[in-house]
């Protein structure tokens, strides 16, 4: 079962795979985000309580979910890097962390902008908001720790351990709304119960969720390609790949 994974410990093979997948991810991201946003912004009915301000949900919820999803993925890569000592998994950390941090930032400020008309304040020290802010700090910590070491492999190991330790924050964020009865509303979509949202609003939300998942994947893959090239800069394949790049851009300018 594991045999088909073995080649991807080799950076060049991983690069080829990522290169092949990236256009698909990028294309699907564009389509699903476009559909989700247009549907959510223009076609979904207005909320009977919150009016049209609820439309922020179509970026707020997906960004929040994948800020956690990206962290979980980063921690898994960290675990793989620690257990099997695979370099290509180590390089995933600096690829994922900035994207996850961006998602966290998006979730935070869209939440603030949404909170202003609904709660009358930009920021409250509500449990979910606070733990999402902690998530942002965790991302920053992982990036800082990774960058602090001169030796990239030591840095990756330290960052992996921190990423795994930080995973405990994820359930705290997820259940904070249920544990503390604070200002933030409960979950909109749950797997097991009927969602607390009308179907006409749910569909665009699901599509934007898919869009944000693909968007996160696309951005991570783009950064991951850079990481692969950066660490293999002395290898002929990486140089050939980058030389191809410059030839393309030269043709474009002509």
């Amino acid at each position: 079962m594991w045999r088909w994974l073995h080649p991807y410990a080799k950076p060049e093979a991983t690069y080829r795979l990522v290169d092949k997948l990236l256009p698909w991810f990028a294309g699907l991201t564009l389509i699903s985000l476009l559909v989700g946003m247009v549907w959510g912004l223009a076609f979904a009915p207005a909320d009977y309580q919150q009016g049209d301000s609820y439309r922020i949900i179509y970026i707020h919820v997906p960004a929040a979910i994948f800020s956690m999803g990206a962290y979980f993925g980063m921690a898994i890569c960290g675990a793989i890097a620690l257990i099997w000592q695979i370099k290509t998994a180590e390089w995933a950390l600096p690829a994922i962390a900035p994207v996850g941090a961006a998602m966290t930032a998006i979730a935070l400020f869209t939440g603030a902008i949404w909170g202003k008309p609904m709660w009358g304040t930009w920021w409250v020290w509500d449990a979910r908001l606070t733990s999402e802010l902690i998530l942002l700090f965790l991302y920053i910590g992982v990036m800082a720790l990774y960058a602090a070491f001169d030796d990239a492999r030591t840095g990756a190991k330290a960052a992996s351990i921190l990423a795994i330790v930080g995973v405990v924050n994820l359930p705290i964020i997820h259940y904070s709304v249920e544990w503390w009865n604070t200002l933030h509303q409960g979950a909109t979509i749950t797997k097991f119960e009927r969602p607390s949202i009308a179907t006409s609003m749910l569909w665009p939300l699901l599509i934007s969720l898919l869009g944000f998942m693909l968007l996160t994947a696309t951005l991570v893959l783009m950064r991951y390609k850079n990481q692969l090239l950066k660490h293999e800069l002395n290898r002929p394949w990486a140089q050939a790949e980058l030389a191809l790049d410059s030839r393309e851009s030269a043709e474009e300018t002509r």
Binding site: A42, A102, L229, A243
Partner: protein, 69 residues
């Protein structure tokens, strides 16, 4: 269609500023990440050229040295 006219769509039932600013800022952040990534790639390109030139220089020098001998 939830809106009757384009101006209503922009107005968003009074929440236009909030809705559009959050969408705009989201776009800005994502574009920033993407841009930074492509800048990174371009920097790698330059660095790779530098590495290659250094290699060529070294090769030439060793050739010269062996020719002089």
């Amino acid at each position: 269609m939830a809106f009757d006219s384009f101006s209503e769509f922009v107005h968003m039932g009074g929440y236009g500023l909030y809705v559009w600013s959050s969408f705009f800022l989201t776009f800005l952040v994502i574009a920033g990440v993407a841009l930074e990534t492509s800048v990174q790639r371009r920097r790698l390109q330059k660095e790779s050229l530098k590495v290659q030139r250094r290699k060529q220089r070294l090769a030439r020098r060793t050739q010269q040295a062996s020719a002089e001998e």
